[in-house]
């Protein structure tokens, strides 16, 4: 009797889960199969392309500088990850290693800046980037985003839980402070830094508002911004658009399936902004 109720519950649970999984995955599936449908099929609701074609991909590459935009995206995401990691590692280290005067103020400044949305500061930043002549450049996208207070606040927690005894004994051995950071702390929290890095890469890759303000030409844009202008240009080439969208998703999906555990762990550990 009890066993039977249990299986009913289990079946019901699986049913709910399958419904939600379909909800989560179907749009992605629809994107991929749309990208392989030919002109006569693209507007039908058939769930598989009867005559699969690569034509959409060929068009997409003809219409948009996709490789260039993908490269831009990689450069932006990698630079952002590197800069945000460097700034957050240095900051967290300073806060853990020394009892600095004004630590409360420092912590308040960091926490408050976590709450400043780009929409509030975009105009002065946009003006400054223009004055520096950095519009339409990848540097112009990267520089204003090179500190992630979110990353600092998250990493600070990991630094704080690092055994003080190890730092202390290195100090007694007369090691230089930078050496302590690079040779003692970082190797021990490699995986933490790596998982934060993955998260920063994903959010750098997905960055929206700021790159959109800075770059207008497709050649200068990350793929996301290129896609956006393609969608907005209102050409009715949904097959090619879905092909381009599929390509834009590939790196993230690839990273996700290769590093699934780390990615989930980093989201659990760090949350999201």
């Amino acid at each position: 009797m009890k066993h039977k109720r249990f299986t009913f519950v289990t079946v019901f649970q699986h049913f709910i889960m399958i419904v939600f999984s379909l909800l989560a995955m179907f749009p992605l599936y629809w994107m991929i199969i749309s990208s392989f449908k030919n002109e006569s099929e693209i507007f039908t609701s058939s769930l598989i392309p009867m005559v699969p074609t690569f034509q959409n991909y060929i068009y997409a590459f003809q219409e948009m500088p996709i490789l260039r935009m993908m490269l831009n995206s990689f450069v932006v995401a990698i630079l952002l990850t590197a800069l945000q990691l460097v700034t957050s590692i240095l900051t967290s280290y300073a806060l853990v290693r020394w009892q600095v005067k004004g630590a409360t103020i420092i912590y308040t400044i960091l926490s408050l800046s976590w709450l400043i949305p780009m929409q509030v500061i975009m105009i002065p930043n946009y003006v400054l980037i223009n004055q520096l002549g950095l519009n339409e450049t990848l540097i112009g996208i990267v520089i204003p985003l090179s500190v992630s207070t979110f990353a600092i606040l998250s990493l600070y927690q990991s630094f704080r839980s690092f055994p003080q005894a190890l730092i202390e004994s290195a100090r007694l051995d007369g090691e230089k402070d930078f050496f302590i950071l690079v040779k003692i702390i970082l190797p021990n929290i490699k995986s933490t830094v790596a998982s934060l890095g993955i998260l920063l890469f994903i959010s750098g890759w997905n960055e929206y508002l700021w790159p959109m303000l800075i770059t207008t030409e497709m050649e200068n844009s990350p793929i996301q911004i290129g896609l956006r202008s393609f969608v907005n240009s209102d050409v009715n080439m949904w097959g090619s658009l879905m092909a381009a969208t599929t390509i834009s998703c590939l790196p993230i999906l690839l990273i996700y399936f290769l590093l699934r555990k780390h990615i989930i762990e980093s989201f659990v550990r760090y949350g999201i902004k």
């Binding site: 289990t10 709910i16 939600f20 900051t91 002065p124 100090r171 896609l227 879905m242 834009s248």
Partner: protein
């Protein structure tokens, strides 16, 4: 290599240090932590705090961002214009609508999904969780493009299917219909965020000892009672955390979809406060109005964050 051993921890060294050199060293030691902090705080000042103050001052000025022109002071005119404009009121109501509306997707559904997958045996548990998570990591632009295609007014899948099923007689232009636009934005944002709460709740559930459940089920508690008396209280820090993130960031999460799918329309019915700031600034070139909206909302959100912080300090228990 060895000579800074002494003064860094205060053990006397064999060689005596001349006092002048000592002060220089002391200064260096004092300055050192700040050198590590310098890059961050320099960048924060240039790209966050200075612009923040600029925005605040621009709120009292009039400017069209035209190169060669300078902003001119107008007092509180921007605030008056803002508060008397109809769009602004709607955008505030919509901001509240999106903020409250996201909660089922960020907390309630994820709670159900996490609890339901938690007790599952075998691989399916991870397979499901992997799938819920995918919308979250994809770029808003990609998600937006897909949904725009699915809800396309003439050729989209949703219209085709609804027509085939005989539910509707003519195509619906979903994103230009005030009845659907803002609900769809909410739904799409929620669809994206669903996996986030699920993953966090799943992690929190894994951390709860099974002994608790054994103890409480010996007392004859039903599954629902177990959930109510044990799971929910133990998840409360996580619920508060996700609630806080939803309140603070939901307006930013919806931004990309508003921009991609409706551009705030039809007739401003799906816009939110951040999108209005963007429109005032970059579509209407009305910097003062954008800045005034930014200032007002920064203050309001600051207060909410502050109150929430107090609240969670008082009621939640974090054990890291």
């Amino acid at each position: 290599m060895r000579n800074n051993q002494g003064n860094s921890i205060g053990i006397s060294t064999l060689e005596s240090v001349p006092s002048k050199k000592f002060t220089a060293k002391k200064l260096r030691l004092f300055a050192k932590p700040y050198l590590y902090l310098l890059p961050t705080f320099l960048l924060l000042w240039i790209w966050m705090y200075y612009p923040l103050f600029s925005t605040f001052s621009l709120a009292f000025q009039k400017w069209g961002m035209v190169p060669g022109t300078v902003p001119s002071p107008v007092g509180f005119e921007n605030f008056v214009r803002l508060l008397t404009s109809k769009d602004f009121g709607v955008s505030i109501l919509n901001t509240v609508f999106y903020t409250v509306g996201i909660i089922p997707f960020s907390i309630i559904i994820p709670l159900i999904l996490a609890v339901a997958t938690h007790n599952m045996e075998g691989k399916m548990k991870n397979v499901y969780r992997t799938m819920f998570f995918i919308p979250l990591i994809l770029a808003p632009v990609s998600d937006g493009a897909i949904w725009r295609w699915m809800f396309h007014p003439t050729n989209g899948l949703v219209n085709t299917v609804l027509l085939d099923l005989g539910i509707i007689n003519t195509n619906i232009a979903f994103f230009s219909d005030p009845l659907f636009a803002k609900w769809l934005i909410l739904f799409i944002t929620g669809w994206k965020m669903m996996g986030f709460g699920t993953i966090l709740f799943s992690a929190a559930l894994t951390g709860i000892s099974k002994d608790y459940y054994e103890a409480i089920s010996l007392d004859g508690a039903s599954r629902f009672q177990q959930f109510k008396d044990l799971t929910l209280p133990l998840l409360s820090p996580m619920i508060l955390l996700i609630l806080m993130m939803s309140l603070l960031f939901s307006s930013q999460w919806t931004f990309a979809y508003i921009d991609m799918l409706t551009r705030g329309g039809p007739f401003g019915t799906s816009t939110n406060i951040y999108y209005e700031m963007y429109k005032y600034g970059f579509a209407n070139m009305d910097v003062g109005l954008s800045a005034a909206a930014a200032l007002m909302f920064f203050v309001v959100f600051g207060i909410i964050a502050f109150v929430f912080n107090l609240f969670s300090k008082k009621y939640a228990f974090y054990d890291n």
